[in-house]
């Protein structure tokens, strides 16, 4: 799933996050159509909220998804960032 390109088909900016994600808010979450047709839902990173638009070209990356407790394993997951 690394390095897959796609385009944003719809998105929102989460301003009232779930508890685990509070330190990241506000952040964009988008539905991305990958090259090949499959759609995924992912957080958009390395992007100002004003830069997001329909059709924005993005690539999948691996990032920490939420802040773990000190005794927990660190969660990593797929996010997307714009390709400039």
């Amino acid at each position: 799933m690394l390095g897959r390109t796609g385009r944003i088909v719809s998105w929102t900016i989460i301003r009232v996050p779930p508890g685990d994600f509070s330190y990241q808010a506000p952040y964009p979450v988008a539905i991305v159509k990958l090259a090949g047709g499959r759609k995924i839902i992912a957080q958009v990173v390395d992007c100002e909220t004003e830069e997001i638009r329909f059709g924005l070209k993005v690539v999948t990356v691996v990032r920490r998804t939420s802040r773990p407790e000190v005794s927990e394993v660190i969660p990593y997951g797929i996010k997307v960032k714009p390709i400039f």
Binding site: T12, P18, I31, P75
Partner: protein, 379 residues
């Protein structure tokens, strides 16, 4: 066989700090039993709709719990389908009577949400979505916001038009003593409210609520005139939004509605009154289009112009105040919707009565559209 809806009961919905789920259940059931005018012993089974008792309250096994609490000593079941739990409970109750297993059964929808931190409730509600959605940091307002943005881009629906849903439902709720919010709101107030998940704002979103509703159905011909359940249909779609074919409709609603209209032998234009699942303003817009009341792209403007507001000719939507203004105790909503139809069809809705209502439809949705339940009642 005919299935008659002979009694209904609804508690006040809201932040009921001093009221436990057991008391909520007892109140709703007692009201329904009284309305039905039958002895308690005639109820042969109990179907409970609830989503969050386990994750928030650490309590599962609600069938046995409420059977005992209501003094029923009968077979009992918890049915869960996220926000469609109530509707699904009724669907299963209907099937149990259609199968001749039981004659008279009760349906109870109950939810207690306000005892927990909002972030914990938001996290728990995301149990209705996929693990990838949870990992992405999405929330329920976020998922519906994604749908709203797609609808706005494709059909030029505006935020002001969406606000019209909240305005209407608050107006209806001001006439409903059981509603959580009885104050009216204006489009301007909705537009100025805090952004939750762009473009949805605080007043576009249904609240966190406590409440219960109960309905009693039977195949025995009732003494007084009672509405019949002429259709109970369920459909599912992909659990996650990303896997849907389209982001501008809820296909599960379309499928369930089609099945329901066929079962009932009626069409959308025959419906006098509808209770639809407005968990967010966009959800009512989608519902009206997906059920077939309006063509794609036309519902938002129609609602904003007052076409489905109490007092207008033709279809009236969400006289209870909907999820937005009546409140949304998740498992109770689907049952409350049908309770509202029963009251309307038997002429007992007081100031929010739709005159001459003969045919009612309730639409209850689970998650971001993964489950849809449609009931049609006729008197």
């Amino acid at each position: 066989m005919n299935i008659y809806a002979i009694g209904s009961g609804v508690t006040k919905f809201g932040e009921l700090w001093g009221t436990s789920p057991r008391i909520l259940a007892k109140k709703a059931f007692a009201e329904a039993l009284d309305d039905a005018g039958i002895p308690k012993g005639r109820v042969e089974a109990l179907f409970v709709g609830n989503m969050l008792s386990g994750i928030l309250g650490g309590q599962e096994h609600l069938g046995a719990l409420f059977a005992q609490e209501l003094g029923l000593n009968a077979p009992a079941f918890k049915i869960e389908g996220a926000c469609a739990s109530g509707g699904l409970a009724l669907h299963n109750a209907v099937n149990s009577v259609l199968s001749n297993q039981y004659q008279t059964v009760a349906v109870l929808g109950v939810e207690k949400m306000t005892d927990h931190k909002p972030e914990d409730v938001a996290t728990a509600l995301m149990g209705a979505g996929t693990d990838v959605e949870r990992m992405s940091g999405a929330t329920f307002p976020g998922l519906y916001a994604i749908l709203a943005r797609a609808h706005m881009a494709e059909y030029r629906t505006t935020e002001e038009e969406l606000a019209g849903v909240s305005v209407k439902n608050h107006f209806h709720a001001s006439l409903n003593p059981k509603a959580q919010f009885t104050l009216r709101v204006t489009v301007e107030q909705v537009m100025k409210s805090t952004l939750i998940a762009d473009p949805l704002k605080l007043l576009d979103c249904s609240p966190i609520s406590d409440g219960a509703a109960a309905v009693i159905i039977t195949s025995r011909k009732p003494a007084k005139k009672s509405p019949k359940v002429v259709a109970s249909a369920v459909a599912t779609d992909t659990l996650g939004l990303a896997e849907r074919e389209s982001l501008t409709e809820l296909a599960a609603t379309k499928k369930a509605a089609k099945k329901a209209f066929t079962l009932a032998g009626v069409s959308p234009s025959d419906i006098d009154i509808a209770e639809v699942h407005d968990c967010f303003s966009i959800a009512e817009t989608l519902a009206l289009e997906d059920i077939g009341f309006y063509p794609k792209g036309r519902a938002a403007g129609a609602v904003a112009r007052g076409e489905v507001t109490l007092g207008s000719k033709g279809l009236v939507v969400n006289t209870s105040g909907g999820l937005k203004a009546c409140g949304h105790p998740v498992g109770a909503t689907g049952v409350k919707q049908v309770a509202e139809l029963i009251k309307q069809l038997t002429g007992k809705s007081g100031r929010r009565q739709v005159k001459g209502a003969k045919l009612g439809l309730a639409q209850n949705v689970g998650g971001s559209g993964a489950t849809a339940v449609i009931h049609i009642l006729k008197i």
